[in-house]
Symmetry: C2
Amino acid sequence: MQQTIKTAGLLVIGDEILSGRTKDTNTNAIALRLTETGINLREVRVIPDETDIIVAALRDFSVRFDYVFTTGGIGPTHDDKTAQAVAIAFDAPLERNAEAYARMVRHYGGESEMNPGRAKMADIPFGAALIDNPVSIAPGFIVKNVHVMAGVPHIMAAMLDSITPRLKGGPKVHSFSVSAAMGESRIAPGLEAIQNKYPDLSIGSYPRFNPAGPSVTLVARGTDAALAQKAVNDIAAEIRRLGGEPVFE
Amino acid sequence: MQQTIKTAGLLVIGDEILSGRTKDTNTNAIALRLTETGINLREVRVIPDETDIIVAALRDFSVRFDYVFTTGGIGPTHDDKTAQAVAIAFDAPLERNAEAYARMVRHYGGESEMNPGRAKMADIPFGAALIDNPVSIAPGFIVKNVHVMAGVPHIMAAMLDSITPRLKGGPKVHSFSVSAAMGESRIAPGLEAIQNKYPDLSIGSYPRFNPAGPSVTLVARGTDAALAQKAVNDIAAEIRRLGGEPVFE
């Protein structure tokens, strides 16, 4: 029985990433989670806090990928534009979400603690499902196939945990690797032959440079674990043939 | 005299970023350098090692931005597809670049050391300018407005240093910030009023969550340094009005 490959796109929303002020760490956390879940992350796009650009990217990604994830832009301040952009992109107007509002009232200790900034975080596109936020309560949300999460890494991680059980992956990609203390150019021809021998696998070569001399890690990835392991054994044999010592990771 | 804003797009090319195997650190290094240079990074796109996708992204970015930068995919192995993609995108066929080849022969200690993998790194689109690589010699290159760099961070950094003097920025964006130990929702209304007062500035709010309680950093960015400083002073006054203590960074 053939399972369909599931794809995803990630929109990282925030001027602070593009200016270099903030280092994005969410991409790697989401990429690892999707790989574990059997979802193939096909594109990450970092875009500014500009409604038109966010709307266009949401519409584009929503039709191109099975799952779309966004990080950033759902806080209480004027520069948080993601919820409004989702509302425009999918014609789902922002409404005060009663459940989200109630959670926040409970968390902050009463209606009197709900200033306009906090209330803004309960304004969510009509019909959205909420994403639990055990860290700071104000929820993320899901509209169509778009999963809208916070940008603060600790909160994003909690929201990602909340949605993971609902994500339906396809066949999982298995990855095996072997390293050697040699320049990658030496193994390039043998590696290409091995890639041609296993067209269903993706074989990658990742060099490192350090003062002691070059080294390289060769990775075979594919949905057939036994096949990927076989390819890595072939690569190890090629490393030995070239006089090197394969190191399995 | 009004200077034109210069824009840039960055293509991060590599399956290993999308799978989560590798954490991309090049984006932040390039973002910071562009900000210092007065170039406005408008989009970062992470894409897989697939020629068609790279070609389409190169063509799209090349017309949309003043400067395009790419990282990854110019090594000696079969999964390095960036040079071929640039050749296709801009109809500039790959040719053995004599200068690149000569540099590598010198570096490796003679023609006999030039295996096919190394020679592949001297196959560069016709008419390209070379980007010096003092770390591992095999150069990057420039075709039209596209600057093609290595993916290994240490090599990318050396190539970025090589091209920086040639980048012509527009007016530099200055950034000032102030922090306070309060939730960002409290300052949200005052901050929006300050943003409205200074439409030429971009004012951002960046919360942090930690066990001791919330804190927030407010940032004013713009090409007029005095104006950005003035806005930050207004924000500090608003923090004091709310009973907080502004901390300048």
